[in-house]
Amino acid sequence: MLTLLYKNKYTPLIFITLLSLCTTQQVLAVGTTSGIDISNQATLDYEVDGINQTDISSNIVTFRVDAKVDLTVTGTSNVNGTPGTVKVLEFTITNTGNETYDYTLSFEAGSETFTVSDLTIHVDTNHNGTWDGIAVDLPSTSLDNLIADASTKVWLVGTIPASATDNQTSTYRLMATALLADGTAIPAQAADVATTKQYVYADAAGPHSADGAQDTQHSAALSFTAQTASLSLTKSSTVIWDPINLAVTPLHIPGAIVEYTITITNGIGAETANAIVITDVLNNNLAPPTDAARQYALGHSIRLTSPNLYSGVMTNLTDANDADEASITGQTVTVTGIVLLGGESATIHILAEIQ
C-alpha cells in the first residue's frame, strides 16, 4: 500500500491512500469494495503563550475491508394458468455483497397438488430484464459475474399439467448459491487475519429446505395455480300438463307434457368456459310434443337463457337443426354456443310428451 502525506502549517492533514495493486476491484459499488485498506491519522494544532506551535501528528491506524457474501432472491408474483399451458415464475437475484460473485441456480418443489414435470431454469440471456421466451432467454443453471449491487432476472418455466383442476396450486423454490467471480468456491469463514481479505457470510435464510442463514445461499418461493372453468350441471323435471287433469294437477300419463330444466353453472372465480355443448338424450318414452299448443311456440320445444345469447333474455329455440343453438335429432337434444364467465349460469328448458 502506498501512502502519500501532504501537510503544511496552515491546513490540517490531508490523507490519501492508493489501492493495493494485488487486489483488482471492479466498479465501486455503493458498499465499500472488499480488499481495500482504510487508514486514519489525527493532527493537533496548539499555542503556547500565544505562539502557534508546530502541528503534531498521531500514529496511523489501518484496517482492511473484508468481502461480504450476501445476496437476495425475491419472487415477483404467483401465476395462474390454464392446464396444458406453459407458464413462467419470475425471480430476481441481487448481489448485496461488496464484490463480484458468480452463482449456481437450483430449485425444488414445495407443496404440490400437481407436478410441473418439465420445469427448467432460464436466465436473462439478452440482459434486458424481461422474459422474451425460451428461444431468447435460454436454459442455464449459472449466473456469471454479477457485480456488487447489481441484480438479474431468472425464470422457472414449465407446463401446468392438463390434469390439473381449478384452483389447484403447486409451489416451487428457486435458490442461488454464491461462488467467487472466477467460479471457484467461496473460502470458508475463518479467524480474522489483519493482512488478508476474509470472506464474511451475511445472507439470511430462505424458504428452500437447504437454505440456512450465513451459508452463501438465498431462495424464494412462488406458486402456479391452475385456473379452469368449473362447470356443474343440474337437471330436474316437472310434469306441467296432462290431457285429463290439464295444468291443475298433471300426472305422468301418456300424453302428459314434462318440462325438463337443465342448469349449467361456472364456479365463482373460475376461467371462462367457452363453446359449451349440452347434450341430453330423452328417454325412449318421450318425444317432442306434437301439438303446437303444448310447445313454447310452433316447432319450438326448447327455450334457453344464457348471459352471452339474446342479451341474456330467455328465448325459444327451434327443434329443427337450423342456425339457432338448439336442435333435436331422434332422442338427442343438443344446445351449443353457451359461454359462461366465472360465477355465471345458463338454463335450458325442454318440453317432452310422454308417449
Binding site: K7, T11, P12, L13, I14, F15, T17, V30, G31, T32, S34, I36, I38, S39, N40, Q41, A42, T43, L44, D45, Y46, E47, V48, D49, G50, Q53, T54, I56, S57, S58, N59, I60, V61, F63, R64, V65, D66, A67, K68, N98, D192, Q198, V200, A202
Partner: protein, 165 residues
C-alpha cells in the same frame, strides 16, 4: 553589526532544523497524540438489553461501525491553549451524526476536504440546480475539536463513530 547578523542567521537555521524534525515525529512538541480504531459490536443480553462492545477490527464489512479515539497527553513543560484536533473521515466510511460531540470541546466539521470548518447549521451544499441544502453527516469530510487548554500532564481523548459504507 556582523555579529548580530551571524546570530540571527544561526538562530534561523536552528529553527528550520527543529521544524523539519517535528514534522515527522508524533512525540515531540510536548503533546503525545495517539489514534485508535475499534469495531463497535452490538449484542443482546439475557434480559433483552443491548450490550455494546469495542473490539479490535475484524471481519469488517459494509454497515459495520467503528470508533476512532484520539488520545492526547501533555508531556511537555507548558500548558497548551487553543488546541485543535483534526480527524479526516476516511473515504469508505460515513460519519454517524452527533458521535463527535463531547463535553469541554467545540466541534466543527468540514465538507470541503478540510479547507474550512463550521458548525452544522452553517454547513450547506449547493446542488446542481443551484439551490442550497443543509449538509448531511455523509457529506462531512473532516471533524475538528477545539479544546480551550490542555495543562501540563493532562490526558484526555476525543472520539467519533463512523459506519462502513
Amino acid at each position: 553589526m556582523k555579529a548580530l547578523i551571524k546570530h540571527i542567521v544561526f538562530n534561523s537555521i536552528f529553527i528550520v532544523l527543529i521544524s523539519a524534525t517535528s514534522a515527522q515525529a508524533e512525540k515531540t512538541g510536548g503533546i503525545q497524540l495517539k489514534i485508535v480504531v475499534e469495531k463497535e459490536v452490538e449484542t443482546t443480553g439475557l434480559k433483552g438489553q443491548t450490550i455494546i462492545k469495542r473490539l479490535e477490527p475484524f471481519n469488517m464489512i459494509p454497515a459495520d461501525k467503528v470508533v476512532y479515539t484520539t488520545q492526547y497527553h501533555n508531556t511537555g513543560t507548558q500548558n497548551a491553549r487553543n488546541v485543535l484536533i483534526t480527524n479526516p473521515i476516511p473515504k469508505g466510511l460515513f460519519y454517524l451524526k452527533g458521535s463527535a460531540e463531547q463535553p469541554k470541546t467545540t466541534v466543527t466539521y468540514s465538507i470541503d476536504g478540510g479547507k474550512t470548518f463550521s458548525p452544522p447549521p452553517q454547513l450547506k451544499i449547493t446542488q446542481k440546480d443551484g439551490k442550497q441544502r443543509p449538509a448531511l453527516a455523509q457529506d462531512y469530510t473532516h471533524i475538528r475539536w477545539k479544546i480551550q487548554s490542555i495543562s501540563v500532564n493532562e490526558k484526555g481523548s476525543v472520539h467519533f463513530k463512523a459506519q462502513l459504507k
